[in-house]
């Protein structure tokens, strides 16, 4: 078997692929965080919990209603988005005039509530969710076997990121959105319903988290705790990349996923901490983040 630096090439590519998969999740989640932060100036701590909610909903749909993966992939993000809209209307909208930290605290409380509820209902243990038939099995690439589902995660995530980028940068709605981010008062004076856009932005941002959750469901165990550790890594990703640009968060997310995967091969003990170490280095060299601008 071929080896690179004493590591079998199959293991290397396997980890590279896993890194890409994790990186795709980082990309989608940090993108959602960035979109929400741009509009609401709130760091959404509940993002991980809502990602978990997406996965749990997919599982619940299948278990109790017999709704399959493909429908869940559409329905669960919409449900999560609706939950987000309710949260925004009932709670977040009262905080915009206050210090941004209150938004973080409120969403942290929400994260605890959501996580606690699911834990109470379904226990801590993860539930299995099988890969849909169309995507089970693997491609034989000659030098490695590529599980179809992993390839699908990367493709689907990147497509969603690209669509989001297109919507924000190239469409009229996106132009309104950017205008409202830049100067909400002036935008409102031009007759655009800014509070409505804020509401939809939050719904869309957490919908992205729900989508990532459904994508993750067949790839890992579906359990109440799947979001909480992930969100802290995503926070580090956001600090490293800065929240200035959409493509920046996608590139940072993917890149860090790959670096994490490679660390698993060459220095397994550090794989849980490597993203945080990179964050520390970035803070020392470029405090505003790789793609960020100091305000």
């Amino acid at each position: 078997m071929t080896e690179i630096f004493g590591v079998p090439i199959q293991a290397l590519f396997g980890q590279l692929m896993l890194g890409l998969v994790n990186g795709s999740f980082y990309a989608v989640l940090s993108l959602g965080l960035a979109v929400i932060f741009g509009m609401l100036n709130i760091i959404n701590f509940a993002h991980g919990a809502l990602y978990m909610t997406g996965a749990m909903l997919a599982w619940i749909f299948l278990e109790y209603l017999g709704v399959g993966y493909w429908w869940s992939l559409v329905l669960a993000p919409i449900c999560v988005g609706l939950i987000g809209i309710v949260i925004e209307r009932l709670m977040l909208q009262w905080l915009y005039k206050l210090d941004h930290l209150y938004g973080l605290l409120l969403t942290f409380g929400l994260a605890l509530m959501i996580e606690g509820l699911f834990r109470d209902l379904y226990g801590v243990a993860g539930q299995p969710y099988s890969i849909p038939e169309e995507l089970s099995g693997a491609f034989n690439l000659g030098f490695m076997f590529l599980p179809k589902y992993r390839a699908w995660i990367v493709v689907a995530s990147l497509t969603v990121c690209l669509l989001t980028w297109y919507m924000i940068e190239k469409t009229r709605l996106g132009a309104y959105l950017r205008a409202a981010t830049e100067n909400p008062k002036l935008t409102q004076a031009f007759g655009i319903n800014v509070p409505l856009m804020v509401m939809l932005t939050y719904g869309f941002g957490v919908g992205l988290a729900g989508f990532a959750g459904v994508l993750a469901a067949p790839a890992s165990q579906v359990g109440p705790l799947m979001g909480s550790n992930l969100i802290i890594v995503v926070f580090a990703v956001v600090v490293i990349g800065g929240m200035g640009s959409i493509l920046g968060s996608v590139v940072t997310g993917l890149g860090l996923g790959i670096i994490e995967g490679m660390t698993k091969v060459f220095w397994p003990e550090a794989s849980a901490t490597v993203v945080f170490m990179i964050m520390a280095v970035v803070l020392m060299i470029r405090p505003a983040g790789l793609f960020g601008r100091e305000k």
Binding site: L106, R119, A236
Partner: protein
């Protein structure tokens, strides 16, 4: 300290001196440890305006170091406490000097992420005992007093708490504390007045981390163990909640908040099981939405309004 605060402090101290006659001393000691933790945290959030979301890591690291020093190195109790506090102070300096490079919301995320990194290191390091934690830490003796006796230990814990509380008040009312408040209110202005803001922030962070560490070291003595829970981000969230619920930026707020939360958890733990997290989350949400000044802050505001009406 102002006269009113001094009187309240002395009354509180008197009550605490008598408390173990009426209440299970371990519970009071737990409250005192968390109250000290929350007071240390309040020094940072309430008086400097910095929200650290990783403060549990200082509690946890001091707990481990003290536990290790007492159990494996068999150091005297006092040295063990000092070792834990010193370790947390050093860690506070390391994390603080990185975190103060960002402001506001990023500061919170950076502290959380760095704390999570240390948490993973604890999870893997051999001396922490991984998931099991460090069990059976001996309490030892102090000045010939056997600390295995709960009442003896209680008065040591009370002395630590009262001393640290006094130190925090002294800090807040010193010129240093005034500069911290100036940074909280208007950082650019503090810079334009010629203060080296980064230095002051770091010093406040290190002081807060050290005191949080002292709380963690004391906690190890009380429970005779140190576990990963102490360093977990859930604990970081708890200390934020205690401070918020009691009233951030108030003298007694964190003490009140810690008392309420610890008592609640104690009462609810075996009744509602995992719903405890939901209740904690709900308190968080209610505090942020409707109760931002906390119990002490709202009471003070109410009191002042009544006085104001009387004078009119």
């Amino acid at each position: 300290m102002s006269r009113r605060v001094s009187i309240a402090y002395l009354i509180g101290l008197g009550l605490l001196l008598l408390a173990p006659m009426f209440i299970y001393p371990i519970l009071v000691m737990k409250v005192l440890c968390f109250a000290l933790f929350a007071c240390a945290f309040n020094l940072l959030l309430g008086y400097t305006g910095l929200l650290s979301f990783g403060h549990a890591v200082f509690l946890g690291s001091a707990a481990y170091v003290t536990g290790h020093a007492l159990k494996v190195w068999e150091l005297p109790t006092l040295l063990g406490l000092l070792a834990g506090t010193g370790a947390a102070t050093l860690l506070g300096w390391a994390i603080g000097s990185l975190a103060i490079r960002r402001q506001g919301i990023y500061f919170a995320m950076v502290t959380l992420a760095l704390a999570q990194m240390v948490f993973f290191l604890f999870l893997q390091a051999p001396f922490t005992g991984g998931e099991d934690g460090l069990q059976g830490v001996p309490r030892g003796t102090l000045f010939g007093l056997d600390l295995a006796d709960d009442i003896n230990l209680y008065y040591l814990v009370l002395a630590i708490f009262a001393g640290s509380f006094w130190l925090i008040q002294r800090t807040i009312h010193s010129p240093f504390g005034q500069i911290l408040k100036a940074i909280r209110e208007n950082e650019p202005r503090a810079i334009s007045l010629g203060y080296d803001v980064a230095k002051y922030k770091l010093l406040a962070f290190v002081l807060s981390a050290g005191l949080a560490g002292l709380a963690g070291a004391t906690k190890t003595l009380v429970f005779k163990f140190a576990t990963l829970t102490d360093a977990h981000w859930h604990t970081s969230g708890e200390v934020v909640l205690m401070t918020l619920l009691g009233g951030m930026g108030t003298v007694f707020g964190p003490v009140v908040g810690a008392t309420v939360i610890v008592t609640l958890q104690n009462e609810l733990a075996d009744k509602v099981g995992s719903l405890v997290t939901v209740i904690m989350g709900a308190i968080f949400v209610i505090c942020v939405l409707a109760f931002r000044r906390g119990i002490v802050g709202e009471s003070l505001a109410l009191y002042q309004r009544m006085i104001g009406q009387k004078n009119r």
